[in-house]
Symmetry: C2
Subunit: 336 residues, 2 copies
DNA sequence: TCCGTTTGGATAATCGTTAACCCTACCAAA
DNA sequence: TTTGGTAGGGTTAACGATTATCCAAACGGA
């Protein structure tokens, strides 16, 4: 059985409370007994029971991080950034991945609440207008911050990249590189993909270029999706000469399709991804992409959350949109 | 204040214990009161306080996962596999990443113990012969399983890939492809790198080839390290015609050096990595690599741990070495 | 010498649940 | 009528800490 404060107290002949005070450096304790207690604690290799402490202090120093999927490097980076930001404050991370299943997500959030996390950071996949999960969090008054994927209709903190700006940035870059027929391999039916699409459209309009519905291909987030989408585009009468892709995996899939078709990048088709996935600069043709500042997202979300946890009363919800950054590589670079 | 069992008990006019029994489906309760309790619980949106429960049951249903770094896709996959394996059993994951710093690792492990995790899965970076951290875990009798990196001198469960087999597999493959001067870009000074080196040497000896100390270049785990190492090799009188790399990032760095030098893969230099990193089949030259069965590691480690958590008495430590699998791609493929 | 103030610590109550017993009907068999 | 079993619940005491309150001894000044 693990050592408890009672064990120390008995050995040193003081009360448990005295031990507790020594260990927390609180209250008035004589130097003599302090030393005795500390020595005995070290001898016995005492470790606080945080569960017991949490029960009475109502603080677990634990933050729940709810992610769509671990494996994705984007969320891996988020987790790292969050972990590094909160650790100095004594917090730990209870992470759960719901594999893009909204029901699993809700049950995981409930579970984390039951575990009395002090706060939550969520990259949610709840369907539109389904706010029950969030209502439950709010009822508990547990502070939470949404990341990456905004949830419309919810008044909550949000930290994410400016997706419309990503769409504009990517498309404008293709325009600047001289592309005339610019297509978009769009992502799944979620807000984030729509915003990137809007950015794409806005950039075209701004440049007085026509919107061609055939140039917007629906899809998913994976490289197979990009592969299929690109093959579809290449079969059309007027294949595009520039493609802005929902994300890097999609772009990588598209790249495979382009190369397989015997075309060259960027002369025949220029390609822009988004996300700046690891190794996207080591592909057969290094991919121009848009960095979404993953670390900043995790960092700022953590800080926002820590503020709210520390605050006496609930603060106003705050939204932070991080401006993306374009990284030009060979997939769009002009030949010299 | 969150709803407690006491709230329900008062409303339904029974004792707290009765509520507890209903909620756990234990003890003898009449159908009538059961329904009353359940209804009221639902109405109030009651959520168990797991902290309180854990205090008395001495079970947190939480597993500590201690990893060198989140960002690395390998550990991301591990985390995913572990999470998926333990979730059905009601366990959650308290993950901490120690950024390859042994001291942070030790303090994180202590912290997880203090949080009363039911078990630990650790990919350790403790220096050789430094077993104090593990002793503390053992003293607490908290079951734990080591993964990926074995710790010599410690009698504990271990699950990992067979690194010597990786070394042999990769090297033998190069030999079979006709390479005569096979170098090795070895990793950092840890057991896992040494085992791969041993496998490399063993394969050469088995094929009656001479060991050339100049062909073994020390390094790290990153692509810069591979880049530098490969440049070093290329500067020698007799550059190698085949290189077995510690891992994929190193191989990717090496590939950059080779291409920059104007050489071609695999004709001039054949390259084998290890780890089967995502997208390593989408590089400028798709990389032959050795898959280390990441999912299996996470899955088997979790199962081993769950067994030990469930067992009444401590079971014998068990070691599981997973046989690796070679994936041939263009970086070693013979031209057709 | 007496009273007030520190000093250093003890006691009691609490956090929300569960474990281990105990109790009281009620019913059936002896 | 007595015995005894069972159904359905209540009581009490943990679990390992913290918070709030209280108390004795020592000390200091008039």
């Amino acid at each position: 059985m693990p050592v408890t404060m009672l064990d120390i107290a008995r050995d040193v002949n003081v009360s448990v409370v005295t031990v507790s005070k020594v260990l927390r450096n609180q209250g008035r304790i004589s130097e003599a007994t302090r030393k005795l207690v500390l020595r005995r604690a070290r001898e016995l290799n005492y470790q606080m029971n945080w569960v017991a402490r949490s029960l009475v202090t109502r603080r677990t120093y634990t933050i729940g991080l709810v992610l769509p999927e671990f494996a994705h490097p984007f969320f891996g980076e988020i987790a790292r950034a969050v972990g590094q930001t909160v650790r100095p404050h004594g917090y730990h991370l209870l992470i759960s991945s719901f594999e893009e299943d909204p029901e699993v997500e809700a049950s995981e959030v409930d579970s984390l609440l039951a575990r009395q996390v002090d706060g939550l950071i969520i990259a949610s996949a709840q369907p539109l207008r389904q706010l029950a999960m969030f209502r439950r969090v709010q009822q508990r008054k547990t502070p939470y911050v949404l990341i990456d994927r905004p949830v419309p209709g919810l008044s909550a903190c949000f930290v994410g990249v400016d997706n419309a700006a990503i769409g504009m940035l990517g498309t404008e870059h293709l325009i600047k590189r001289g592309c005339r027929r610019i297509a978009h391999l769009r992502g799944p039916e979620v807000g984030i993909a729509e915003q990137r699409l809007e950015g794409y459209q806005k950039a075209l309009l701004k440049a007085d270029m026509r919107l061609n519905a055939d140039y917007v291909v629906p899809g998913g987030r994976g490289d197979e999706s990009g592969y299929e989408g690109m093959r579809h585009l290449l079969r059309s009468n007027q294949p595009p000469d520039g493609v802005f892709c929902f994300n890097d995996p999609v772009a990588i899939g598209a790249m495979r399709a382009i190369l397989e078709a015997g075309l060259r990048l960027p002369c025949d088709v220029a390609l822009v991804g988004a996300g700046n996935v690891h190794y996207s600069d080591m592909l057969s043709v290094p991919l121009t992409t848009i960095d979404q500042r993953t670390c900043r997202i995790g960092e700022l979300a953590s800080k926002l959350l820590l503020d709210r946890i520390g605050a006496k009363r609930t603060l106003q919800p705050k939204t932070i949109l991080i401006p993306p950054k374009l990284l030009e590589r060979d997939s769009t670079r002009r030949h010299s």
